[in-house]
Symmetry: D3
Subunit: 313 residues, 6 copies
């Protein structure tokens, strides 16, 4: 096609300013041996969700929203145009076997972790059910895992009632022996968003719980610092799990379980920024965005910014 | 609450004209021994769908759309206000085990069939994957089953690639020995909507296939008559499976797999009316409506009308 | 239906976690003599609104949004699963006589107040026109009424121009002698949202007016405290009237009269929480939510949270 | 403003092709003594509707949709650019007294009729409740009225249950003595859209009822011809009442009471065209369009075309 | 990435049935010397439109809608899975120089025509302004051009008032000497959709005009046959220009200039099918689809079907 | 029409409270010699935008949103009902020549400036490309111009790649010699929203850049004061350019280039209020609102409030 002056491949014909690099241009499809600053992989699974969810569409939309950002951080006067986001692509899902889907996520996360393509790997959900699979894979690859979970919900529901839903990932990790309760720190837990039984379960299992009241009353930096300090000496690797519904409904209209009383995006960005600077934070997920419910991709756009921020780690 | 003149229970405070019976008022919750003219049961399952589907919301919306209709058929000058629709309610679904969901549909359909509450039972999907379970239950209750399927698609896909999806119900019935190919008659199959391999499979297995060309060129009444004649002496009971995507996208905007070139609603209504007059047509399903994609519940409203029509069988 | 293992009545087939009580489960239909912690009644009336309004749909949606919350307040470590919300249902409305509608609201509120089913009754509008009727009923039942009104608008318009609209409830109360101006305290009044003539009317009649500037510059707790102190010794009962348009348009996109410059939901929740702790605050209304204009029921969800909050009074 | 080359008054800066007259340009505000080919007046009232309706927005939108059409009828090779639509404007409505609204419509229609500005006056609803007022005004101005009603519904409900709603206009006319049953001809009445009691009432009162079955089986021209023949010798003037819900939901998505099984727009246009050619057809209304529910103003655009068609009467 | 069992490149992770070829899989990016059955190229330009238009998004959406279709034509029992659609990609557009955009379309169409990649080239608009550029390019490549235009509008507006808009393409072709009036045949021209002046212009210049009345009264096949007969001996090549607004608004809700009274999709498909079977019909465009206005991509899906149909030419 | 009691001209029949003046009533169409407090003119141009934009619809919507506000500022106890907004109307645009459009904006702004109708003129975009034309006109009328730009973006892109787009207005002003870099002060510039090359260009040309970090860390009043101090002695007139995308996406969902991390509306209002109090601030624009993307006109409503605020300058 190179011989035609004004024709570009389908879908590539958008305006290009010669001096501007869009963050989406940092995406580099993985090939064997690729190395980059951050690696991403999509886990487009939402059938395990308790309520109807189109979170399986999120990896595509989050990637596309990288086109909303350039590579220049003016506040730090840092240009990240030479950073590389290794894109492993998306995990294929089985249409009717959720068990098989979780198994594929486990296996693929393991393969991605073993590829060691970047110091930080970001898994794009999908719903929160994926985290049991990804953490298990990380544990088998990197050793004992500590988790910092940003979420309105405990996700410690019993599994008898619904199996491996998006309400149970951390319960399953604890019960299957992949995670110790004291290695789990939950931040942003919200009023009237969880059953007492699961708060009790958290406490009994040594889980650290910071509610939104803690977030409002203490600096987020202090909570994250406290979490990192608590985990760094006890675990081999730290996993940051970002459920976007930790944000208030006004800022994240695209989560299935929206509600008032949540965080604002600056607080979330600060939390993530600070956490991933720690060398033991090597894996992160971003889950629970349903693009079919979102307003102008606002929630996905925040997710994209979290990815970009991670490049100035 | 009866002592308060102007207060009604939550959700019941709508305007009531003393002379008007809404079709929704014909709904009577099943209790043991109930008898009625038609029985309905919801199978709110759409996780097996190949593409994202909210068809699990359809039973609720179809019931609600019964409020859009009265009980008076002016064209036949027939009032059906004394007919009864026995409502068995909805089958509960397991959040993460699709196999379990299908098993529950099978078991519940069998229980409903055994209850013999009405000469015609209508199962409200849900996606088309439910039909393997329902037909198997009917076969075990009523004997050899013949099927008249109104659909744009064969639904005869191989099961290796995705398991019991909404693309495979009739293939599974044939392969599991619950249905003979020659007892399956498909009407409304559309151009560029199926793979050649599955048309070949249909032919090889003796399935009768009427395409939209047949519908356009011959009277629908003739096709239905031909289908009934072909089946009536060979089977014990006839199952009518109505995939709403047999309709054109302009008339049924709420199906996941919409497209141009389909039937109009009058033709569909005529087909259903004629079929259910046959005494061997004792079970029917209405599937593949996703209310989250519909325009003003148009597709569900047509489904509701099919139910009402069945009362003047 | 109890004999069928996997079937539930229509609309009840959703997922149930055995340890989780949804706030909606606290709703208990009123029967004679019922006692609970809070009572609610719907007043689904919006035809008196000056502009087109679907606020009549709000009581249903607010009740449904109670499903978005559990009964556990993690910040206070309080489980409210044993509290009861007595649901009186909805007041039926006359399709064409607004006078009759207001009369029914008056009569029904009186009956509900006399039933003494709970220490706090919450009336779910509907538009703000309902408040003349409800306050009149409360006055006749409980004695002199003081009102704390959270609103962007005075609602003190003249009645010559439009009659008993949603712009006139407090004017009508004052002019009909049911309310003294000095017993009305307005909080959240906004710039360019009212005519000077009505501010003048407020001042002339002794109404206390706190604008959004007051809200921004002083703690909301101080304003509420001041209002309670001012009223408690002078009136027999205090009525809290919550017009949701006191919130900023970014947080409450579902009000007919949205605008910038309003309160955030935390401030509103704090105001309501503090007010209803006062023993004389025995009645409350929540008005001016039009679900047909809302984004993902955000405004109704905040209203539901206000109801839940009232249970930890 | 004339001194500025490229500035036009607010809202008038759209593209203008020198050879094209838009139908909206035929609108001429009425001033005393104005004469034109058709007169229009808006009756923006929808509060009497049984269900929530924004039909009060229709007159504005129908006028605006006149911009979608030019003045050239290529099929008849007729240019109507010199025809005039006298626009009387809109009747102001009282916010809370529906009785007052109906009275204003009555009085204004009478004034408009007396102004004799055009051989045909078209009243733009609003909901169908307006027709009692308009017909009464026409009767007092022009004598005995016959009505041809294009509608899915009889609109003959009892008035005890809801007063002068959009379900009762023709009942009220008959009961108040303004209309004889035998002077009412209903076309397009639909299955399951009315109570038997009201069909009985129609028959008992001599009303002529043509159902959609009649429309499907006989040419619409024949039905209209039959209606005109039946009325022309018995009445002084004929009123054509067009409830847009006579159309199928696929063509008129903007009516409150949409449903399948209705007319297509060509049939409706033919019916209207033929009727208004009769010299006794001097008044027409177009009702029951709710622009807040419509898809891309499709229903209002059809209404606009009916107005334009009337200019080649 | 081949070493990972369950990972596919971003955006490719959808379900794949081994026996099904989607029409989108027939798309083959052009490389020098490529040969196929049909060639497509996108001209994503809509800034010249008289009214606001997002038709520039259509090429992407039409390609994506090829995923809604398989390669099997069951009515003809023909599998087109071995046909190839050579995809030249999209022409890049200048953000602010419409003249430059038109020049790029001209140059690129010429290059594509010279590449002789397929017997039929389909240009995907964009708005109708592109057709002046494409036809000029075709004329310079293939000789005298005849045009069959399916459109509600003449598109013969004067150019003084707005320049090379989407209202002028055929006028510019005639005035610039690239097209003789008698070589232009317009089908589907609609009432009240054009100025008389432009019908006059058409007649004066020998343009053949078939209105919707002609379409309704004569078989479309006869009109197309007549057009082909009229052109085949006089021109070297025939260009088929399909403005999707020739369809009725109920079927093509995504065109900027929608209206009632248009064709249905079966008629359009038949017209296109028949035309492109003629060996002189070597170029076709599909224009005036604005995906931002469409309902569930219905209009683009019909466009995709026209492309697929062309493969069984 | 005055003789009819209850009829008003089309579009004027809304409810009117005798004591309430809506801000929209302050709009007075310009006639020669008109004088007022603020003048407005619409520049409905969005074709130069890099991405698809309907900003050309904004002037109409912003005017209409003036109906959402009264004329009474309760916080300052100031009634502005006697202030006058001189409305010059809208500049007509050429459909296909963007150069011509920019020329018309230049010429019309000059004419408006020369008319000296008010101490402050507000130009309602349209997209930001208009600002080159308007500033050039102001410079030729009032002398050296200083600019305070509230924007997420520099708008200093090179013009080789796209010409006079909405990404280049200030670059063009500098390069064409109409503006010195040191006379440009940018406030609100956001991370990852611009290329490094353009920040470099700003610095090299002496442009003052305040990022969102500056906004977060310093009081906005201080930044504006600093900007005014810097400019007041060096320039003859100050132009305030308000790109609404300086706001966070949660508050301004209607901008084409929305994103997280922006200002809130109170901060923007404070900035504008403070700036326009300075006597040298004589011209202002409000750009980049696309009403087709907005949620309930929220962004336009904020723009309207900025206009109203300017009346208490
Ligand atoms: Ca979670
Ligand atoms: Ca969560
Ligand atoms: Ca199917
Ligand atoms: Ca199907
Ligand atoms: Ca209020
Ligand atoms: Ca208010
Ligand atoms: Ca009616
Ligand atoms: Ca009707
Ligand atoms: Ca055209
Ligand atoms: Ca056209
Ligand atoms: Ca800008
Ligand atoms: Ca900007």
């Amino acid at each position: 096609m190179s011989t035609f002056q004004h024709i570009k491949p389908a879908g590539k014909a958008q305006f290009k300013d010669r001096h501007t690099t869009k963050a989406a241009e940092l995406l580099t499809p993985y090939t064997e041996g690729s190395k980059g600053d951050v690696a991403i992989i999509g886990a487009p699974l939402s059938k395990p969700s308790i309520s109807h969810s189109g979170a399986s569409f999120a990896p595509d939309v989050i990637r596309r929203c990288l086109n909303s950002f350039t590579t220049y951080n003016i506040e730090e006067e840092t240009d990240i145009s030479s950073r590389k986001i290794i894109d492993f692509g998306d995990i294929t899902m089985h249409p009717t076997s959720i068990e098989d889907c979780h198994q594929r996520i486990y296996q693929s996360t393991k393969e991605v972790a073993q590829a060691q393509a970047a110091p930080l790997t970001i898994i794009l959900g999908g719903d929160h059910s994926i985290t049991t699979s990804t953490v298990k894979a990380i544990k088998e690859t990197k050793g004992t895992v500590g988790i910092i979970q940003l979420d309105a919900h405990h996700d410690l529901r019993n599994t008898e009632d619904g199996g491996p839903t998006n309400g149970t990932p951390f319960r399953r990790l604890i019960e299957e022996g992949h995670l110790k309760g004291e290695h789990l720190i939950q931040i942003g837990i919200r009023n009237y968003a969880n059953a007492k039984a699961y708060h009790d379960y958290a406490i009994e299992n040594g889980v650290t719980v910071y509610t939104m009241k803690d977030v409002r009353q203490r600096a987020i930096a202090e909570l994250i610092q406290s979490a990192l300090s608590q985990l760094e000496s006890k675990v081999d690797t730290i996993y940051l799990s970002v459920d976007m519904d930790v944000l208030d409904q006004a800022y994240a209209p695209g989560c299935p379980a929206i509600g008032p009383g949540g965080m604002d995006p600056d607080t979330l960005a600060e939390a993530v920024q600070q956490a991933i600077k720690h060398p033991k934070v090597q894996t992160m997920d971003i889950v629970e965005i349903d693009p079919t419910l979102d307003t102008r991709d606002m929630t996905s756009r925040i997710a994209s910014l979290l990815i970009i921020n991670s490049l100035v780690k």
